[in-house]
Amino acid sequence: MRTLFRTCAVGGLVLLASPATPQQAGAAAPPAMRLAQGDGTAGRPAPVPPRPPGRGGRASGDWVDEPFQRSVRLGSRGSVELTALFGAITFTGTDGNVVRINAVKRVQEANRDFARSVLQNVQIRVTERGGGIEVLTEQPTVRTPIAVDYTIEVPMATSVSIRSFGGPINVGGVKGELRIEAFGGGDMTLSSVGRVRTAKSAGGNVTITGAEGDEVNAETFLGQLVVRDVKARSVELRSIRGPITIVDTLCDRCTANSTNGSIEFSGPLKPEGRYTLNSNEGDIRFIPAPGVGFDLEAMTSGTFNNDFPLRTGRKTAPAPGSQGRIFRGVFMDGSAILSLRSFTGNLSLIRKTDPR
């Protein structure tokens, strides 16, 4: 968590000037040449020579790459902290107690001498400290598109922390605590993971499948947020523009908030579970699987469609000065607590037929 600024202080101008999106970087053409392999222990970066004239600071030429490999022994419950810039990131949980870091440093540059010198100054620093491993990406201040792709294997119970500015992030089979923040674009996919303390993307989609742990907290500003087959005590989801979809998720407490994205929940309810779905402007659809009753409070200024034979089913008169309408009702034993609210969107409470 503490190293992002250092990385960016080194690479800030590159980030600003780089015209390559992470997606472009990830879909780069085959490398035109392969340079000497780094060992991750390089000392002070060599000075980068002046850029050849006539480039105008724009990307040109093929991608040139340089691989990096490093293996480090780690305790069964250690931590790995990666600070990246642009590029694809993949973490996989494995048996054993070794962290295997495979990276490819890439630069898009037609002039090979210049590319070589830039790559020499793209540093991957691996530091072991206090039962954890810190992987830090540093890059020089040049107006050339640079990306570093990481493929990292970690012991299954490792806690993983990732901070990145762009590029897809995939994490699979890691059961330790996850804290992932992507400050740019690029989709984030987490599968078969444990506790998700943070999964946050500014511009990309976030998909979490098969998580089982104490909590799942996820957020995206602009992308879609999908949570599927999750078992957790607490699930907390947030978006600004993107829709939130929650499928077959069992939790004691499920909260989803969106500014103007839609929210859809479908799947089984937990008796005594609490489900709170709020969107300022988006529609909300709630499709509970048969079997568990609920106590509903719903508020909207839009339409409220309900398939359930709610006891009371009455529409509460709006408070003075209020445009919204509040609906309350109980289905079956009312054991789950359900709160749906959209100020201007529509609410739908959809009954799924029991296959039996």
Binding site: R2, L4, S18, G185, T259, N280, E281, S301, G321
Partner: protein, 230 residues
Amino acid sequence: MTCFEYDLQIDEYVEGTLPATRVAALEAHLATCSRCRAAAADFRTLRSAASTLERRNPPPEVWTRVVASIHESSEQTGWFSWMLPGLTWRSAVAAAVIVIMLTVGTWFSWHEAATAGRVVSTAGLDTASAESRGVEQAMRTQISDMEKTVRTASAVLPSETQAAYQQAGAVIDDALSRRASEPHSEVTQQSLLELLQSKLRLLQEMIALINEMRKGNQEEAARIVSGIEQ
């Protein structure tokens, strides 16, 4: 009628909004049903408690501690020193954010308590409305100040990051414009305040990130931001 059906009328009965035609029947039921009497007593207690809630400002010592903390961290690490030229002003900005967030949080808590207690009285609504407009104005002022800061300093962020935050901010701004064009109501006002709260949160995050990028000590920045959020 069953207890369940009477139970649904108790909140309106306590509020005094239950139609007179139903009051007599409910009172007759309350006379014979201890469970519903207890429920009515609970509602009265809740209503009474909710109506006495006041907006709480943070105690002075909180402000003092925050400012002292910012002074101290600024001297130690230079955190925030790039952003604003004067120590007093930057302390005030940071402290103002805290006060705004506390005030907004208190207002939402009050509002939720009032809603839960079904406190519906014209005088109460007028007071709530005036308070919420005051909170709105304070939030708008704070947002405006933070936007100025972001405008002058966001160039340090990667263009993709800038774009994502700006687009997210624009989504909230659009929603705010729509709320502003709607007739004033309690619901509209609540929606508007939640949008402003989202905007504040977004700007806070962006400023924290800018700090890290510029020169900040990230651990220190995280500690202070965490303190602000608490």
